[in-house]
Structures are given as structure tokens and as C-alpha cells.
Amino acid sequence: MTAVSGLLGTPPPWPLGLVTAVLAGVLLWSVTARLRLRPESRAASTAVYACCALLVELSTADGVDGRAALLLAAGGMFAAAGRRRSLLAALACAAAVALAPVVAVGVLVLLGMMALRKDLLTRFPVVVRRLTGVAAIAAAAGVAALLARAQAGPAVPVGVLVVLGSCALLIGGASWLRLPWLRPPVAAVGALVLCQFLPGPDLDAVLPAAAGLAVLAAVLTEEHHALFARPVLVGAVMVGVVATALLVPAVPLPVTPSPVADVAPVPARPAESQVDAVSITIPRLDLSGPLDELGVAGDGELLAPDDPARAGWYSGGVVPGDRGPAIVGGHVDSRSGPGVFFALRSLRPDDLVEITRSDGKVARFSVTRVRQVAKEQFPTAAVYGPTPRPELRLITCGGLFDRTARSYTDNVVVEAVAV
């Protein structure tokens, strides 16, 4: 019992979560065997699962929490074994939903599809069964929307959403039966194009998504004759459901908090300065919001804003629009998702940045340069050095996240000049 309560209690630390996710993958292999899928399809679906897990592992700060995935895969085992064990399967699914509410999306979709495919509610009239199926899928969409709206929800990497969404499109789309060899590249290219329109993830997140899609499309190329046969359908949705369960991040490894973060900000504001920067607008990023004041820590380092959703300006320095480089900083992410400057690295030269000041003036800047620099080689002179004209520097974090140091390796610095 202690093992069970331990399993359902505190999320596992990083390595245990990954091991659990791998176990879930192995179990998924057995589930597809029980469903009597052909070996190449089983192997390919396991590859899709592994890609999803990899994507989550790499694109979340704290890695994979595989417990819900493991429970779901076990539920699949029970369900595939026969009706008598359906109760066990339902219990496993319920436990998984309790662990990770996002799993409800996948389970509801699975139930809805099964109802529509005559695998559920067989004794009820056709109308009731179909209505139930549609209602379950609609409920899944509702839960997904609710989770997406609530900021406290799981950090869903866009890449994973793309994989899952495209899976649904592929399973539902019956129209591309011709030219099957075109499907893998089309699916991969489609995912790449789609991700181009989403802020944030670069190739690092997009390529795994495209790869996973291509593998899945390869399976479907083989299976299109039996695309709507029960085992294939259940197997495909099962992969989706278990992959959804990966979306819950594991707890971070315990680390000693950095002393810098505990030092109270020192107001570094020159007394004579009367004007404040009030708000920032970056049309290209669809970003508009108020500006806090940034102070410096006891050791002089510039502190980022307290709130990851708000940017701040270094009030001990230059007022935006006055001569010299004004400094605006913002977090790239919070502990659970993107921060205010998440998409900063996608700015390009000639993009416009506007800062509204407390005297009513709007300082307009044009981006001249966007670069990512290692924190050890932070270009202090280029960022803070004197300039003859009003300029602006936007600073956030970038590069890889060092989980042990709980810090990013790089800074993203945007340089802009007044226009």
C-alpha cells in the first residue's frame, strides 16, 4: 500500500519519472500486441510514443512524470484482456485522471470514439450511443479549453499539441486515400508550417513533432484499408491518450536557492529623474502591457521583474527616449509556462517597439539586432555602454535550461534605436 500511495502522492523526481514513462512505453507495446495489431504498426506506434515522451522531456523544465502514462497503459492492458477486467481498466483510468486532469481529455475522446464505433453501450439504441459518443468528444474539447484557459494548468508544449492535434486530424480524415506515399512528407511539412505561425518554439521543438507525425503517417499509409477497424482505432487513440498523460511535468530536483534571489532590491534610481516608463508595446509579438521598475540586487546585478507575466525597465538607468540605452527586462517563462518575453527571440530587425512614458511621450524604437549570448560572455559594454542617440535594449533568457542550476545558459538581447 505504501508503494501505491507513494505512486499517487508526491510527483517523482526527474529520473524516476522518465523510467516510469519508459515502462509505460513497454506496456503500450504489449497493449498493441493484445489488440492484434501488426508488428510494424505496433513498433511504429511505440516510436510515436517515444517521440512524444522525448518532446515532453526536452521541452519542459522538470521533465516527464510518467505515472499517469503508466496507469493508462496498464488500463489499456486490462481493457484489451476482456470484459471482466474492464472495471480494473476504469479504475486505472480514474487514478490517472486524478493524477493529471489533462488525461481526461484523452480518455473522453477514447470513450467517445468507442461509443461511435459500437464498442460501448452495445445494448442501447443507436441514437443514444451516437449522441453519447459525440457528447463525450465535445466534453473532451471543453475540458481541453478549460485547462488551456486556466493559467495553473499543465504547461503544454506547443509541439505536443501539434502532434496530438495532427493525430486526430489524420485519424479523422478519410479523404486522402489516394497517393499514400505522399502522406508522411505532407504531414511533416504541415506540422512545420503550422509551427511557423506559433510564437516560441524553434526548430528544436518543431522537428520532433514533425518526426513523430511522419512515423504515424507511415503507419497509416500501411493501414489505410483498415483505418477504421476497431483495433487500429483504439491503438491509435491509446497512443494519443498515453502521450497526453506525459504532459504533467515532474517535480524539479531539489536545489539550493541562489542567494541573489533572496537579496532585497536596492533602489538605484537617480533622484533627479522625473519621468517613468509606463508601458511597452511590441506589435509583431502582439505584446502590450505595463512596465514595472527593475532594481539591482545587493551585488549590483540587475533583477528581473517579480511577475513573469510583466516586463520592467531599469529605473536606475536611462529613461526610454532619452539619450543612451534604456534597459527593459522580462522573463522568458514562469515555472509553468511562457513568460512575457517568451517570443522575444523571434523579433527581427526593423520590428517596432513602443514605450509610453509618464510624461505622455511615446518613444518609438526600431530593432537593429537580435542576438543570443552566453551569460558568461554577457556583452556589458554593448548593452549598457553609452550611445549618442536614444536606444533600447530588451533582455530575457534563452538557450538551454540547466535543471541543476535552475538557470538558463544564455541571454537573448534585442538592440533597438529610436526612430
Binding site: E40, A44, A50, L54, A205, A211, G317, R335, T368, L400
Partner: protein
């Protein structure tokens, strides 16, 4: 077990292998994608800048027209400056320019003109020097390199006729400029910020003590002018920055949307890539053997 698999029409083995092969290819793509570093940063274009210094005491307010030799329609007007004043910098394309001065607001032909060559990325000050009768236009290059963050970088410009040769010394007697000719700019020197005094005078003659206030992390030109009250020093900030420069990088992220670094990343990636690759390879093998 094969007999229990789904009933299906026969599929050409080649097509099956191609499909499985595309899966393997996709995994290779994945590996490449993970190895890819973020896109290189866009390079900044070198901009050239120009400004006017009005160093002639008897010429009144002057304006400056800057016309590109290559494209005469491309003319920039730098407006009205009094004696001892410097304009803001204007951005210009690199190339040759004809510089002409005339009284502010007038449309009469230029009094003095000169052709200068603006280098890419250079910062240039064009100065009108001397009395009206023998007025000339000169130019000097400004060096806006950042000083040490806690220091101020200054140079002295002699705009104080009739003093033709001035010695300028800092608060502790160090020489800032020696034998500075009228209309010339001295070399850049680093001074401590704050209120300080410069000793200025012709070589060998008694020096005047001129107060100046300098800020840290600024590059300034100290313009020496002459008038009824004798020599005056006027500090013109060429380039300004925050007077308190925070050292080091900014820690602005909690990792909630991060790609993880360190040994864990390598380990976990390896495990999952091996799993994905093994499954894809098995898929290909099964497909070929069918």
C-alpha cells in the same frame, strides 16, 4: 500468431519498406533537430553619424546642410546652433558629402562648404571655426567607445579665439590636451566622474580653473569658449548610458518553457532516442520480412 492479425489486402513490400523507411528518416530528422543550435543572430548594420559644432563666436546662429555627392537630392539640414553648441547626431549613409553652412533661416548661398568622406560606422563632428572673414569648416572623428563603467571619457575642443595653443590639465595636474590649436579636438582621456576642475591656459601662462561636471559611463566633449567673462568650459555629452551599470547577465526565466541542459538532458535524450530508433527499425524490419 500472424494468422490472427487483421485481414487485409496484400500491400507491395517495396511500398511498405518505403513507408517504414520514412519513419527512420523522420527519426534522423529528429536527431538533427535536437543537435541544431538556435539560429545565429542577425548582424547589426554599421551606421554612420554626423553632427555640427558651431565654434565661431561672431557668426551667430548657423545651420548646416549635408548633401550626398552621389545623390544631391539626399540633403539633410541640421538646424540653428549658437556659438559653442553642438547639434544632435544625424544618421547618414557612408559616402562623400558636401557640407555647407549658412545663417539659420536664410536662403542665401552657403558661406563655407567642404567635401568630406563619411566612413561606414564612423561618427563625425563637422565644425565651423574662426571669425567670419576667414571662416573654415573642419571635421574630426568622434570615438564613442564605452569607458570603464565607473569612469567618464572626455576630450577637449578648443573653440576659444584668440587662444591658438591651449594646455589643458586635469584635477591632479595630468595633461588632458597639450598645445591644442583653435578648432582642434584633443585626444580622449578617462577621468573620474563628479564635479572636477580643469586648468586651462596658453602654454607657460597662468591657467584658468574651469569647473566641469562629468557622469560615469558617458563620453563627453568639453568645448572651451571665450567671451566677456574669459574662458568657459561647456560639457556636451556625446554618448550617454546608465550611470550605474549592473554587472553580468540577467536571470530572467524559471524554466517552465525550457529546453533543459546539463547531463540529465543528454542521458534522457539518449534513452528515448534509442527507444524511438529501435522501435522504428523494428518496424522497418518487420515490414521488409513480410
Amino acid at each position: 500468431m500472424p494468422a490472427r492479425h487483421l485481414a487485409r489486402p496484400a500491400v507491395a513490400p517495396r511500398r511498405r519498406a518505403a513507408a517504414a523507411g520514412s519513419g527512420v528518416l523522420a527519426l534522423l530528422l529528429l536527431a538533427v533537430g535536437l543537435a541544431l543550435a538556435p539560429a545565429p543572430a542577425a548582424a547589426a548594420a554599421a551606421t554612420s553619424m554626423l553632427r555640427l559644432a558651431q565654434l565661431s563666436p561672431d557668426q551667430g546662429d548657423l545651420e548646416l546642410t549635408v548633401s550626398s555627392v552621389a545623390n544631391p537630392d539626399d540633403t539633410v539640414l541640421i538646424a540653428a546652433l549658437g556659438y559653442g553648441e553642438l547639434s544632435d547626431y544625424r544618421t547618414v549613409e557612408a559616402g562623400d558629402y558636401v557640407i555647407a553652412t549658412r545663417p539659420a533661416g536664410s536662403t542665401e548661398p552657403p558661406m563655407v562648404s567642404k567635401t568630406i568622406s563619411v566612413q561606414p560606422g564612423a561618427t563625425t563632428t563637422v565644425a565651423t571655426v574662426g571669425p567670419r572673414a576667414e571662416g573654415a569648416v573642419t571635421s574630426f572623428t568622434d570615438d564613442l567607445t564605452a569607458p570603464e563603467p565607473t569612469q567618464a571619457r572626455v576630450r577637449v575642443i578648443n573653440a576659444a579665439p584668440p587662444a591658438t595653443q591651449l594646455d589643458v590639465r586635469g584635477p591632479s595636474g595630468e595633461q588632458i590636451a597639450g598645445s591644442l590649436a583653435l578648432g582642434a579636438a584633443g585626444p580622449y582621456t578617462t577621468l573620474a566622474p563628479g564635479e572636477t576642475r580643469l586648468s586651462v591656459g596658453p602654454a607657460g601662462a597662468p591657467a584658468a580653473e574651469l569647473p566641469v561636471t562629468l557622469n560615469a559611463n558617458e563620453v563627453s566633449s568639453i568645448v572651451l569658449t571665450s567671451g566677456d567673462g574669459g574662458l568657459k568650459a561647456r560639457v556636451v555629452v556625446d554618448a550617454g548610458g546608465p550611470s550605474v551599470v549592473p554587472p553580468g547577465p540577467v536571470h530572467a526565466g524559471f524554466g517552465g518553457a525550457a529546453i533543459e541542459a546539463g547531463p540529465y538532458r543528454a542521458m534522457s535524450s539518449t534513452v528515448l532516442v534509442v527507444l524511438a530508433a529501435a522501435a522504428a527499425l523494428m518496424s522497418a524490419r518487420f515490414a521488409r520480412s513480410r
